[in-house]
C-alpha cells in the first residue's frame, strides 16, 4: 500500500513534511489512524501524542501535540498544532 503525505505545522514552523504509512491521531471523539486513501475528514485533536508509522509495525516518531486540528484531503493528512514536542 502506498504511503500518504503527512504534514505537521505550527504557527512558528513546518515541523514535518514527509511520507508515512500511517499516522495515529488522538481526536476529540477518540483516536483514529489515517492511511493512504482515507476519506476526507476534519477533526479537532485533543492534547496528546500522535504516532507516525513507516510500516505496519514500526513507529518512527511520537510527537506530543497541543491545541491541534487535523485535516485529511486528497493531498494527505495535515495537522495544525499550537505546540509540538518530540518525545523519544
Amino acid at each position: 500500500m502506498a504511503d500518504m503525505h503527512f504534514e505537521l505545522v505550527t504557527p512558528e514552523k513546518l515541523v514535518r513534511s514527509e511520507d508515512a504509512f500511517m499516522v495515529v491521531v488522538p481526536g476529540t471523539e477518540g483516536d483514529f489512524s489515517v492511511l493512504a486513501g482515507h476519506a476526507p475528514l476534519m477533526s479537532v485533536v485533543r492534547d496528546g501524542e500522535i504516532a507516525i508509522y513507516s510500516s505496519p509495525t514500526t513507529v518512527t516518531a511520537r510527537i506530543k501535540v497541543q491545541g491541534g486540528f487535523a485535516e485529511v484531503n486528497d493531498k494527505g493528512l495535515t495537522i495544525l498544532a499550537e505546540h509540538v514536542e518530540e518525545t523519544r
Partner: protein, 312 residues
Amino acid sequence: MANLKALKGRIGSVKSTQKITKAMKMVAAAKLRRAQDAAEAGRPYAEQLAGVMSRLASGVTVGPESPRLLAGTGKDDVQLIVVATSERGLAGAFNSNIVRAAVRRARELQAQGKTLKFYLIGKKGRAVINRVFPGQTIHQVDQTHIKTVSFDDALEVAKDIMHRFEAGEFDVAHLFYAKFQSALVQIPTEKQLIPVEVPAAKSGTHSETSEDGKHTRTVSNDDHKGPVAAVEYEPDEATILEALLPRNIAVLLFRAFQENAASEQGSRMTAMDNATRNAGEMINKLTIQYNRSRQAAITTELIEIIAGAEAL
C-alpha cells in the same frame, strides 16, 4: 572663516555618528533576514488555517446562534483599535506610518459617532495615541523583554482581547500593523480581528448580478473541479468552527507581529543606510571647508612673512 580646531572636532563627531549608523544598519540587515525567515516559516500554518476556515464557514450560515466571535455582537457602537508598533525607535517612518493609519481610521469612526477604545502593543505608539485620544487607551502591552515574538506571546494577547470581548468591552476590533513588502516598502495595514472575517472560499457558489441589477443568478465554480468529496466532521462543523475561531485570532496577531518585526528591521535598515550616506556627504563637505581654511591660514602667514622681509 570657521576656526580649524572647531572644524576638526565636528568632522570627528560626524565620523563617529557614521560608525554607529553603519553598525545599526548591519545589525538591522542581519535581524531582517531572521525576521523574514520566521515569517516565511509561519506561512504554511496560516495558509492551511485560512483554507480550513473558509471551507468550514462556507458550510455554516451565520445566525444568531453562531459563535459571537464570528457573528459579532450585532452592534458596532464600541470600536477597539489595536495598534501594533515596535519597542524601539530609529526605524525611519515605520512607527509613525502605522500610528497615522490608525489615527486616520479612528477619526473616521469617531465622525460616525462610534465610541473608540485603544489597545496598544509596543511602546512607540503610546505617546501619539495618548495625546490625540487621551484617556481612551484600555491596555498597553509591553514587549520590551521579548527578543523574537513567539506564538505564545501572540496567544496571550489574543486571549486578553477575547476576554475583553466576552466581557462586552467592545463590539468590533481592528488591528493595525505594517505589512512587509521589501526593505524599502512597508505598507500600514488594517485587519478586522473581531468579528472574524472569513476569507471567501475559492470554490463554491457565488452570486453574480448582471449590469442592470435585475437578474441575479447563482454560479457554481465547482463544475470544473469534478465532484467534491463529502468531508466527515468530527465533532460537527459548528463545534470545529468554534474551536478554530480563537486560534484564528491568535494566528492573525502572530502574523501581524512577524510582519511588524520584519518591517521594523527593513525600515531601520533603510533609514540607517540613508543616515550613513548623509554622514558621508557631510564629512566630505566639512573636509573641504577644513582644507580651505587651512590653506587660507597658510597663505595669510606667507603674505605676512614676505611683506615683513620686503620692509627690511
